[in-house]
């Protein structure tokens, strides 16, 4: 079961059970919905941007442990970053979970999701909330669908 522990690390199980910033954000300036039809995962992200800096990110929805933990970790990582930094981080994160790069110190706790690269069908779960944030920042009104 070692492989499983690589995927479902303690940090992931913890964020799944007690997701951080799991609420609506009244003061949000951007929001978007994400949907993964494969698993039925649904997420809504709320972002407050002030002068190109992300002041707060929250999310709501339901999903598997990977998508919930990824969304939760994302909210903790993006707060305080500039929009440009957030987009760069998403690129790095995407490369990590698709196996195109190794974890780096810049990624912080996001590195715990590196195990996803061994489960190609779960990449969509891990990136759902990130896609939704990107859609929110680009003021996309259509829900993001990862399938």
């Amino acid at each position: 079961m070692d492989n499983l522990r690589d995927l479902y690390q303690e940090v992931i199980l913890d964020h799944n059970k007690r997701p951080r910033n799991f609420r609506m954000l009244e003061s949000c300036t951007h929001r978007a919905d994400g949907h993964n039809p494969l698993c039925g995962d649904r997420v809504t992200v709320f972002v407050e941007v002030d002068d190109a800096v992300i002041k707060a990110v929250t999310f709501q929805g339901q999903g598997c442990a990977i998508s919930t933990a990824s969304a939760s970790l994302m909210t903790t990582m993006l707060t305080g970053k500039t929009v440009a930094e957030a987009e760069r981080l998403f690129g790095q994160f995407y490369d990590l979970v698709t196996g195109h790069s190794q974890p780096s110190s810049a990624m912080g706790k996001l590195a715990v999701l590196a195990g996803v690269r061994d489960y190609p069908s779960r990449v969509k779960c891990a990136t759902l909330a990130w896609h939704a944030v990107q859609a929110a920042l680009h003021n996309q009104t259509e829900p993001v669908v990862t399938e």
């Binding site: 499983l4 059970k17 698993c39 039925g40 649904r42 779960r122």
Partner: protein, 415 residues
Amino acid sequence: MSAAMTLPPTALDVTAVRAQFPILQRTIHGKPLVYLDNAASVQKPQAVIDAISGCYQQYYANVHRGVHALSEQSTAAYEGARETVRQFLNAASTQEIIFTRGTTEAINLVAASFARPRLQPDDEIVISAIEHHSNIVPWQMVCQQTGAKLRVIPVLDNGELDQQAFVELLNERTRLLGLIHVSNALGTVNPVQPMIAQAHARGIPVLLDGAQAAPHFSLDVQALDCDFYAFSGHKTYGPSGIGVLYGKAEWLNAMPPWQGGGDMIRSVTFEHTEYAPLPYKFEAGTPHIAGAIGLAAALDWMCSTGIQAIADHEQDLLEYATAQFRQIPGVRIIGQAAEKSGVLSFLIDGVHPHDIATVFDQSGVAIRAGHHCAQPVMERFGVPATARASVAAYNTREDIDTLVSAVYHVKELFG
């Protein structure tokens, strides 16, 4: 029906059955494969693999038009396959057996060629709340094209259809009843015989989606008296990409072809085309020849193994699994109809079905997690998805024990 189907039921020799499925020798992540995703697709016995490769290695050619030996042999095998299907369904004639790509294409054929020309605005098609998407979307499409309306028989909390509501839904505007024989998402066996009788009492023709029933039941379309019956090869131990539409000859003769092309014509000029008689009218283009031959081998395999013996064995496994799952705290079974077949849909408190399936996979246990192409069923039961274990002839009580340990492992990991 073939002789094998009329023999008294005998207990299934599961060890002998398993020996005929080469894939069961595989390991997954170092563990023996426990394949419990049979409601999605079933593994193939050696007899089917041999029939398909035998076709390609020994006598393959195009059917129906060659005068050379290979074409004659291929044609004989392809038409022989149609006769095997006829026996399997106990249809009156091979004219009533149309080869399709699968259940989905069979239903689409009926929607396009039977329903569409007949429907007027405000006519009604009745389906049930536990249909697979393949028995919902084709009717929605035809309703959009004609202005007809889709009416839905509700499902009770235990997964059975509301028979009272069903009777009330039928009226003088109802033009067709489309019904799933066995629910792929819940395992519910619908009481199709009395429902067909009730529809027929009002002159309403009935299509049965048999994708999940054909692998488990002895079928007799004449006794059922259904007007159309659809099933898929890949769920009856045969290849994917081949399926069957049975239709009563009186309906099929009255229906226009739905695809035009080669093989479905008697004569073609630029002014006029005369269509081929049944069943060729509905089989445009070169068919899936080896697929039909593989399907026939699969149906022969089911009959010689004993359809009733397979069904009894699967029922034992389902009851064995259900009894154990009821003992596990925090596990909820979705679909508790009095009559079920082959399918155990369930949830584990606080764990998403997708995570369940990933953890199971590491134990070599293959199940399905998701909406099972039945999103309205998920919505009705207020869940985004379920985990689903489904059994076939080659599964054992040991497989179920492994499944149950995997459930405990999930609970431990996410506890």
